[in-house]
């Protein structure tokens, strides 16, 4: 459905020039298949955020190659011209805090992305409702974000990340503000959604509770990733 997930080869990122240059990423290789949820773990300053920003097409890598689904989005000096449209159509984001738009109700928060892509309002809302139903928050469809619990807000944020059926979702500490039970619920949902929509999901986390749930984990340290098998507990 969504091609080949995401593939990164030899990705490097250097900030600054000359003596002040800092190599935040020194050679990252990753591959996440459609329907797979992988963890990205590393201490502060290891290059996690830089990698996430490169993956999210927010900053340009210095060298390397990135393929999203069937589309090469970065290949050394070459890059996709319209990064804004790329982020809108090909990448879903789930943040540490839900960051829902406070003046839009739940349905429109989710429907906003397809609307931005030019889909008609009614059709966008239908897509949003389908996802809200899948995430079991359809009963709060007309509520404002401030009226939702933390867990509900995070599920709506996941729905927003999924609504354009992107080949990849980047989840930045999605369970950080949640207790164990809700954190596990969010991970369960991400796994279900990954399978259902054949989406590759990369979860950046420090959360010890959820690390054992990943089947594959990328450790990042000093700008270099190391892949290892996870325990994959609970989501077979």
């Amino acid at each position: 459905m969504n091609g080949k997930g995401i593939r990164i080869e030899g990705l490097k990122k250097r900030y600054g020039e000359g003596d002040t240059a800092v190599d935040a990423l020194k050679g990252v290789d990753m591959q996440v298949a459609p329907g797979e949820v992988v963890g990205l773990i590393g201490p502060s300053g290891s290059g996690k955020s830089t990698l996430l920003k490169c993956l999210g097409a927010v900053i340009d890598p210095t060298v390397g190659r990135m393929t999203l689904g069937d589309e090469v989005i970065y290949d050394n000096a070459w890059k996709v011209r319209d990064l804004r449209a790329l982020r809108r159509d090909k990448i879903g984001f789930v943040f540490q805090a839900p960051y829902l738009i406070p003046f839009l109700d739940v349905t429109d928060n989710v429907a906003l992305l397809p609307m931005l892509a030019g889909t008609k309002n009614a059709e966008s809302r239908a897509k949003a409702l389908e996802l809200l139903t899948a995430l079991d928050v359809q009963h709060r469809a007309r509520a404002m974000p401030s009226q939702l619990s933390g867990g509900e807000q995070q599920r709506v944020a996941i729905a927003r990340g999924l609504v354009n059926r992107p080949p990849v979702i980047l989840a930045d500490e999605p369970t950080a503000p949640l207790d164990s039970e809700r954190a596990m619920a969010v991970i369960r949902i991400l796994n279900e959604m990954a399978r259902k929509y054949e989406t590759a999901i990369i979860v950046v986390t420090h959360d010890e509770k959820i690390i054992p749930t990943f089947k594959r984990i990328y450790h990042i340290r000093d700008g270099v990733t190391h892949e290892e098998a996870g325990e994959g507990r609970g989501f077979d």
């Binding site: 996430l52 920003k53 927010v58 804004r84 982020r87 809108r88 943040f95 003046f103 839009l104 906003l112």
Partner: protein, 401 residues
């Protein structure tokens, strides 16, 4: 696509409405200031309209009788009447003073009008809302309704008492003071009337002056004293023209043969608007500029604050692929909505408060329309700061770390 600006306004409607009311009061003051200027111009035109004159004959080389003092002998009108094209000529005096009624006094322009007939003799109030015109040659007055006087009131001008026999409307001076019409002779006396002590001192000086009190010239001193206590001057002669005569031609004829200064209606309007109220107009203009700047600063500050409150949401919007122009449109639409709310509140405020001002405030539709577009322009300009800031927001800010 849904309206992000509309949704945000509905979400925080209280903030918008109260800010709009605050801005509206400022816009209301601005509209009233424009109305004050229009009122001054209209007062000037009303003064000219109500005089019923086609020409104003005044002292040579003066801008009288409204912008400068002017003094003419009160028999000049006879020779002007004989000029070709002149239908009527009548003396008139103008004196701005406090007119007392009991314990209170009112600032007025006292107008001395020559005896004659309504509609024929220039200078008379053209219509009354109550009572009658002056019919006696002394101690009757017709007052503008803005003085607060009523029919039958006894008012005091200098040492004399007058009975209000008629009430007029919109009879005002160029500075908006309501007029009180009295007979010409009384007005001439009022202009030069001194107190008893001053008269006694003047007589004593004349008696002591050997030039006026010569032995062997009987009657000289009495004649001098009599001339000192009477006033044979007026401020202007108002002239109406016979049909078919051009004002400028008749004016030129009077200038040439009588060696006096004569103004046509157009010239007099130019003096009133261009000279008499020019400084006030500049003052009001300055206020309008300041108010516009203050309004712009308020809108800019409010929109900037509202945008600052949404920085994280704007970063998220940019990250998820919202176009810059969508974000800019959201901010600009909010600024325009604030301006529209402000203008509606301002217009209502100005409309209801204008009659309460002591001076005439004339709210003209063209000023409201200009004001509306000026407010929109100010709002657009004021939103540019916030838009610039929003467009500089890095979508990476939405991603932690």
């Amino acid at each position: 696509m849904i309206s992000l600006a509309g949704r945000d306004i509905l979400h925080a409607w209280g903030k918008f409405v109260f800010t709009g009311i605050g801005l509206g009061l400022l816009i209301g003051v601005t509209l009233v200031m424009a109305g004050v200027y229009r009122g001054m111009v209209d007062d000037g035109k009303a003064l000219l309209d109500n005089s019923g004159a086609d020409l104003w004959v005044v002292q040579k080389d003066t801008l009288g009788p409204y912008a400068e003092s002017s003094s003419l002998n009160d028999d000049v009108y006879r020779s002007i009447l004989a000029m070709p094209g002149v239908a009527q000529a009548a003396n008139v005096t103008y004196l701005t003073m406090q007119v007392r009624k009991g314990a209170r006094d009112v600032r007025t322009m006292v107008v001395g009008i020559a005896p004659g007939k309504l509609g024929v003799t220039p200078g008379w109030p053209p219509f009354l809302v109550a009572g009658r015109q002056l019919t006696r040659s002394h101690y009757e007055a017709v007052a503008d309704i803005a003085t607060g006087f009523k029919l039958g009131d006894r008012i005091t001008i200098r040492r004399n008492h007058y009975t209000v026999v008629g009430l007029a409307r919109r009879m005002v001076s160029s500075s908006g003071d309501p007029m009180v019409f009295i007979p010409l002779k009384d007005a001439q006396e009022a202009q030069f009337l001194k107190d008893n002590d001053a008269i006694w001192q003047s007589r004593r000086r004349s008696e002591a002056n050997p030039a006026f009190n010569r032995p062997g010239v009987p009657g000289l001193l009495e004649a001098v004293i009599a001339s000192q206590s009477t006033n044979a001057f007026v401020n202007a002669v108002l002239v109406t023209l016979k049909p078919g005569h051009a004002p400028e031609e008749v004016a030129e004829s009077i200038r040439r043969w009588k060696r006096l200064t004569v103004y046509t209606r157009t010239q007099m309007e130019g003096i009133l608007v261009g000279k008499l109220i020019a400084t006030s107009a500049k003052q009001i203009g300055m206020f309008l500029v300041i108010l516009a700047i203050v309004s712009a600063a308020i809108v800019a500050f409010i929109i900037y604050s509202l945008t600052m409150d949404k920085i994280r949401e704007i970063a998220v919007l940019k990250l998820i692929g919202t176009r810059n122009r969508t974000i800019a449109a959201m901010i600009m639409q909010q600024a325009l909505a604030l301006g529209v709310i402000g203008f509606v509140v301002g217009k209502i405020t100005a409309t209801f408060s204008a009659p309460m001002f002591p001076k005439y405030v004339l709210l003209m539709p063209v000023d409201s329309i200009t004001g509306f577009f000026a407010v929109l322009l100010i709002c657009i300009l004021a939103s540019l700061v916030a838009i610039r800031m929003a467009l500089k927001v890095d979508p990476a800010e939405a991603i932690g770390g």
